[in-house]
Symmetry: C2
C-alpha cells in the first residue's frame, strides 16, 4: 500500500486534516507539529496523491496540447517551445493527436473538456467550432490557439500576409516577372499567404494568374517535385517560385529542377518558408521566410497561464509574430 496522509497522521498522533494543512503550509499550524509531521513525511517517504488532490480541488494541473500529429516540424517546434516555458510551472503536458484516430476532432475536444482531463488547452493548427469553444469558456477551461484563429479566443499567430508580401516583393525587385506560388490547399495560413502574394503583385502592377498557383496537400518533398512539372507545363516563362508550403517542399522542387537541368537561381529563383535547418544546407542554399515557431509555442504557453490565472485582458489577446526574409543563394 502507498502511504497516505492517514498513515502520517497516525504515526505523528494528529488528524489527517492537520497533516493536510502542513503540506499546504498553512500559517496556523505550530512550528512544533509542523516539524514532527514533516519529519514523518520524510521518514515514511510520503508523496501526495495528485488524483485525490485533483478531485477535491477540481484542478488537474495538466495542460493538453492538441494537434493533428506531432511528427511535423511545426508541431514539434511548438511543443518544444511550450515545454521550455512549462518547466517554470507545476504543470504536466498531455499530448492528444487527432490524425488517424477513430474519434473525430470534435469528440476528442469534448472528451478533454467533459472528462476534466486538463486545466488548459493549446490547439495547434486546428480549426474548432465556435460553439464548442464557448463550452470550454463556460466550464472555465482555458484555451489558446496557435495558427488558426477563433473569434474571442487568445491566439498566437504569424504574419503570413506580410511574409508572402516580402517574398514576392523580393522577386519583383530582382526583375522576376513570372512568379509561381506553391501553397497548401486549406486553412487560414494558406489563405493569408495567398493574400500577401496577390497584394505584392498588384502593388507592383503585375497581373495575378490562376495558373501560377500550385496547391499541395502534404507539404512533402514529393509535393515539390510534382509542383515543378505542373507549374512549368502551364507557364513556359516561369522564372520564380515562392514555396509557401514550406522549405521541405521547396527543396523537393530544387531537387527536381536539378534533375531537369534547370539552374537555380539562374533560370528560376525560389524562396521557401519556415527556415528549417536544411534550408542552409541545400545546394544552392535556400532563401526563405523565417518563422520563430518555438517562440510562438513559448508565447502560447505564457498566454495560457495568464488566462488560467485569471487575467481578463489576456482572454482575447492576439499575438502576432513578424516574418524575416533570410536571403541566401536560391534567389
Amino acid at each position: 500500500m502507498r502511504v497516505t496522509i492517514k498513515d502520517i497522521a497516525k504515526k505523528v498522533g494528529v488528524t489527517p486534516a492537520t497533516v493536510s494543512m502542513v503540506i499546504n503550509n498553512s500559517q496556523k499550524i505550530s512550528q512544533a507539529t509542523k516539524d514532527r509531521v514533516l519529519k514523518a513525511i520524510k521518514e515514511m517517504n510520503y508523496h501526495p496523491n495528485y488524483i485525490g488532490r485533483s478531485l477535491v480541488k477540481g484542478k488537474t494541473n495538466n495542460i493538453a496540447v492538441v494537434a493533428s500529429f506531432f511528427a511535423s516540424l511545426f508541431a514539434l517546434e511548438s511543443v518544444r517551445g511550450i515545454e521550455l516555458n512549462l518547466r517554470k510551472k507545476p504543470y504536466n503536458l498531455i499530448l492528444y493527436s487527432t490524425k488517424g484516430m477513430d474519434e473525430n476532432e470534435e469528440d476528442l475536444l469534448k472528451r478533454i473538456l467533459y472528462e476534466k482531463r486538463a486545466d488548459g488547452l493549446i490547439i495547434i493548427s486546428l480549426k474548432a467550432k465556435k460553439e464548442l469553444m464557448e463550452e470550454f469558456k463556460k466550464e472555465s477551461v482555458a484555451v489558446v490557439f496557435i495558427e488558426e484563429l477563433i473569434e474571442d479566443f487568445p491566439t498566437v499567430k504569424f504574419n503570413n500576409i506580410k511574409a508572402a508580401f516580402l517574398a514576392t516583393e523580393h522577386f519583383i525587385k530582382n526583375k522576376r516577372k513570372n512568379i509561381g506560388l506553391i501553397i497548401g490547399n486549406k486553412g487560414m495560413n494558406a489563405e493569408e499567404r495567398l493574400h500577401g502574394y496577390k497584394e505584392a503583385l498588384s502593388h507592383y502592377g503585375l497581373e495575378f494568374k490562376q495558373e501560377m498557383i500550385h496547391t499541395v496537400i502534404d507539404y512533402s518533398f514529393e509535393d515539390g517535385e510534382k509542383a515543378l512539372n505542373s507549374l512549368l507545363e502551364k507557364n513556359k516563362k516561369l522564372d520564380a517560385v515562392f514555396c509557401a508550403a514550406g522549405d521541405i517542399t521547396a527543396i523537393g522542387f530544387m531537387d527536381a529542377a536539378k534533375e531537369k537541368g534547370i539552374n537555380i537561381p539562374g533560370d528560376i529563383g525560389i524562396i521557401g518558408f519556415d527556415d528549417v535547418y536544411l534550408a542552409n544546407l541545400s545546394t544552392p542554399s535556400l532563401t526563405t521566410i523565417r518563422q520563430p515557431i518555438a517562440k510562438m509555442g513559448m508565447q502560447a504557453f505564457d498566454l495560457l497561464m495568464e488566462v488560467i490565472e485569471g487575467k481578463e485582458e489576456s482572454e482575447k489577446k492576439i499575438i502576432s509574430f513578424e516574418p524575416e526574409l533570410i536571403i541566401r543563394e536560391s534567389t
Copy 2:
C-alpha cells in the same frame, strides 16, 4: 456545474450506483432502465469524470514517457511510434522531460511513482537506478526502457555494435584508411557504437587511434562543425568520418567541409546515424545507418501493455532491432 452520475440518477429516478453499472455495462441491469439511463446521459451530455474514476480504481489510464528532451529526433520519433499504438488503447500520453528542470531525474521518477501519475512508464535513453526501479515493481507500475538497459526490466534497443561495425566496414571496403569517429560523450549507446567501430578496425587489421575520436555533447549541427576542425587538426590524412552522433551532426560536418572547400565524398567520406528524412535531402545526400525508431517506440508501447496486463514472460523481455546501412552519395 458539470453533470455527474448523481444528476443522471435524479433525472431517471434511480440511484447513482445504477447509473454507474449502466456505464460499465453490467449484465445485471434490465434493458428498460439501461435505455432510460442511456437516454438521460445523452440528453444531459454526461461524460464520466476520469479523476473520480481513477481515485476509486487506483488506475490513471495515463502512460508517462520520460526523456531528457523531446525536441530531439530520436525522442520525437519514439513518441510518434508510441502514439501510433497508443491509439488502439484507452490510454493517454504524458510527457516528462528532465533537461533544464530544477528537479533531477530521480526525483521526477519518484514523483511519477508516488503521486500515482501513470500506470506505466516508457523511459527513453535515460539511466535509472536499479533500486528505484525496484520500487516501481513493488508498486506495480510497469516500466519499459528504450535504449538504456536495466537488469530485469523489459527493454527495446538497437544493435549499435553491429551498426557501427557496418559503417566502419563500408569505409574500409572503399579503401578509406583514416576513419574518424564522432560520438556522444556518455551513455550505453555511445559505448556500444565505439565498440563496433573498434571491432571493425581490428577485424580488418587497422590500428585504433584515440586522436581519431571526437566526442560531442549536444548532437547538434554546431557540434558537427566543431568536429571537422578538431579532427582535421589532429589527423591531416583524415579520409572518412563515421558520425555516430546522428545525421544532424553529420550534416553540420558536411556544411563546415563545404565552407572549407573540402570535397565530400572526394576528400572525406561521411556516414551518419539514424536516417532522418533530412539525410536524403542534403547535398550530397547522406549515407547513414537506418534506425527504425518509430517501430521501436511502437514495440515499447506494446511491451508496456503486456506488462500492465500481467504477462509475466514480458517482464524481462529484451527486444533488439537490427541496423541497415543506407548508401547514398556521401561515401
